[in-house]
């Protein structure tokens, strides 16, 4: 009896939370898949008919926005790696006692609502605002110059909002490196650059990969930045999905688009993991 009770304990502990995740995470995905294959409209209701045309029509109508989102996502992710790596490196190797303080400073933006932060950037970058205004007055920029509404503004906003998601995983990976390993490389006459390239960077790669996963996915499905900082020429797929769901109530198209986006992201993640994985294996084999 006692043994049975002990065996049951973990299941009882997991049950309420697990059920919640099943009901409101797993099942909604199935509901979305089902909805994406239905036909009908809000007034007359929907029927499940294996209507695959929802997918072909959605791709046909919105492939520009989908591809644009993936390109923005890729550009932002590359910029994020370049921006975040030195910061993570400095904190991990030279942070010393101040490491927690630095990490806290990096997380400060999260104490302000995501929407509010992005709107704040719009206030800063507006045509006659604190940045562009003085430059225009000095004649360094033409009066018609603007940043808002352009792709760089949207990508800049995305990079800003997701930087901590790249710094933290790289930092965690660098933190784990035993300083003696780096010293050993130096003792064996590796130049600082070589020891970085052959020792530090490979050891940091899992962190970079985690950072890519944690930033590319939310960045390419974001719709706040392109809505606030962009224009109709920077529309991303998230905005389309949002509008189809909440404005047009075209649920089948919207859920088909969501599924396409999810599938593309998953394929991207697995492809990258495979590429990275085999590369690691090759390096080990070469040694």
């Amino acid at each position: 009896m006692d043994r049975l009770k002990r065996q049951l304990t973990p299941y009882l502990l997991v049950l309420p939370g697990g059920l919640w995740l099943l009901l409101f995470f797993a099942i909604p995905m199935i509901a979305m898949l089902s909805l994406s294959l239905q036909q009908g409209d809000v007034v007359n209701g929907y029927r499940f008919t294996f209507h695959w045309q929802n997918y072909t029509e959605a791709i046909e109508a919105y492939n520009t926005q989908l591809i644009r989102s993936l390109i923005y996502g890729a550009i932002a992710t590359i910029i994020l790696i370049i921006l975040a790596f030195p910061v993570a490196y400095y904190i991990a190797f030279y942070g010393g006692k101040r490491k927690p303080t630095y990490l806290f400073l990096l997380l400060l933006p999260f104490f302000v609502s995501f929407v509010l932060r992005t709107i704040s950037w719009r206030q800063i970058l507006t045509d006659e605002g604190p940045v562009l205004g003085p430059l225009k007055d000095l004649g360094l920029l033409s009066d018609s110059y603007h940043i808002l509404g352009t792709a760089p503004a949207v990508i800049g906003g995305l990079v800003y909002n997701f930087l901590p998601f790249m710094v933290l995983p790289i930092y965690v990976a660098l933190e784990r490196i035993d300083p003696r390993v780096v010293e050993a490389a130096r003792d064996l006459y590796a130049s600082p650059l070589t020891s970085f390239r052959k020792v530090i960077f490979p050891l940091a790669l899992p962190g970079v990969f985690a950072g890519v996963l944690m930033s590319f996915v939310p960045v390419s499905s974001d719709y706040v930045n392109s809505e606030v900082l962009g224009s109709s020429s920077t529309t991303m797929i998230g905005q389309v999905i949002q509008a189809q769901y909440l404005v047009n109530s075209d649920y089948p198209t919207a859920s088909a688009l969501s599924f396409i986006l999810m599938a593309v992201l998953l394929v991207g993640i697995f492809a990258y993991a495979r590429a990275l994985g085999t590369e690691d294996v090759m390096k080990v084999a070469a040694r």
Binding site: L15, A31, L106, Q123, S221, Q242, A254, S255
Partner: protein
């Protein structure tokens, strides 16, 4: 003391080997890191500054002098105040529920081996790494299919859903490092499993539960994307801001944003100091 010596020794050695190069590289990185931090903080300063802006109209675009008056008129816009309270209520309820459910999962995963724990891990990873857009869209799909009315209840359901895994991860990390011999001692002294849990184990993991609940609260009060899909006609603080971006934001939004920021930073600093004191004791 000995730890500090150990920490310092490799650094001084490399300094001795190549003092000049190391120094310039380090100070370059130092400057760079601080520039990035300043860049991260600039929009927050803009938000705070404009909460003190003596703007003449209802909207807050250009700097026109310093004032405290908006802090006195913080609750003057009725819809905005209502939205803020809605946000706070949802954050309190959803962080308590996800705290309880997440602690159950985290404790079970950290303590027991059981069938299905692998699947549970995958689902937790999926909820943490899935795009919010997809989670919001799929929840809306479910609610639409069930013809369920949207509102504060559906928002709370959604917030609990995406918070559970974060709480569970934090609690599990603490449970894994737990010293089992303390519990064994309690059992040797005749305590039942139930008593041991509440009198010994729970107090030890309580700080982890508490930081999990705080994180859930922060995630909930800040959430826009999932909320936007599950809100229907209910308005939360971020949704209200979103709704008025086109027309311009009143200074009250900056005041509330500043107060939420200050409260968040204060709580984070206090819990951090307390947990450090706890470690020293």
């Amino acid at each position: 003391m000995s730890q500090a010596v150990l920490d310092r020794s490799p650094d001084t050695k490399t300094h001795a080997a190549k003092p000049k190069r190391r120094f310039t590289g380090k100070s370059l990185l130092f400057t760079y890191t601080w520039l990035v931090i300043i860049w991260l903080v600039v929009p927050i300063f803009v938000m705070i500054a404009f909460s003190f802006n003596d703007t003449k109209g209802r909207y807050n675009q250009e700097w026109s002098g310093f004032t405290f008056k908006w802090y006195g008129k913080i609750f003057e816009i009725e819809d905005l105040t209502k939205a803020l309270w809605t946000s706070l209520a949802i954050a309190v309820i959803s962080s308590i529920i996800s705290g309880a459910l997440g602690t159950g999962i985290g404790y079970a995963l950290g303590r027991y081996r059981f069938r299905g724990s692998g699947t549970l891990n995958i689902i937790m990873f999926a909820t943490i790494s899935s795009p919010e857009l997809i989670m919001g869209a799929s929840l809306l799909s479910l609610f639409v299919s069930l013809a369920l009315g949207l509102g504060a209840v559906t928002i709370t359901i959604a917030h609990v859903m995406f918070s559970i895994s974060f709480v569970a991860t934090i609690v599990r990390a603490r449970v894994v490092t737990l010293d089992r011999s303390i519990e064994e001692a309690a059992a040797d002294l005749g305590a039942t499993g139930w008593t041991t849990f509440w009198k010994v184990t729970f107090p030890i993991i309580l700080p982890a539960v508490f930081s999990g609940v705080l994180l859930a609260f922060a995630l909930s009060i800040d959430d826009f994307v999932v909320t936007n899909f599950t809100a229907g006609s209910t308005t939360t603080f971020p949704l209200w801001i979103w709704g008025s971006t086109r027309v311009g934001l009143p200074p009250q939004v900056n005041v509330m944003g500043t107060l939420i920021f200050a409260a968040g930073v204060l709580i984070a600093v206090v819990t951090n100091i307390r947990s450090r004191q706890g470690k020293r004791d």
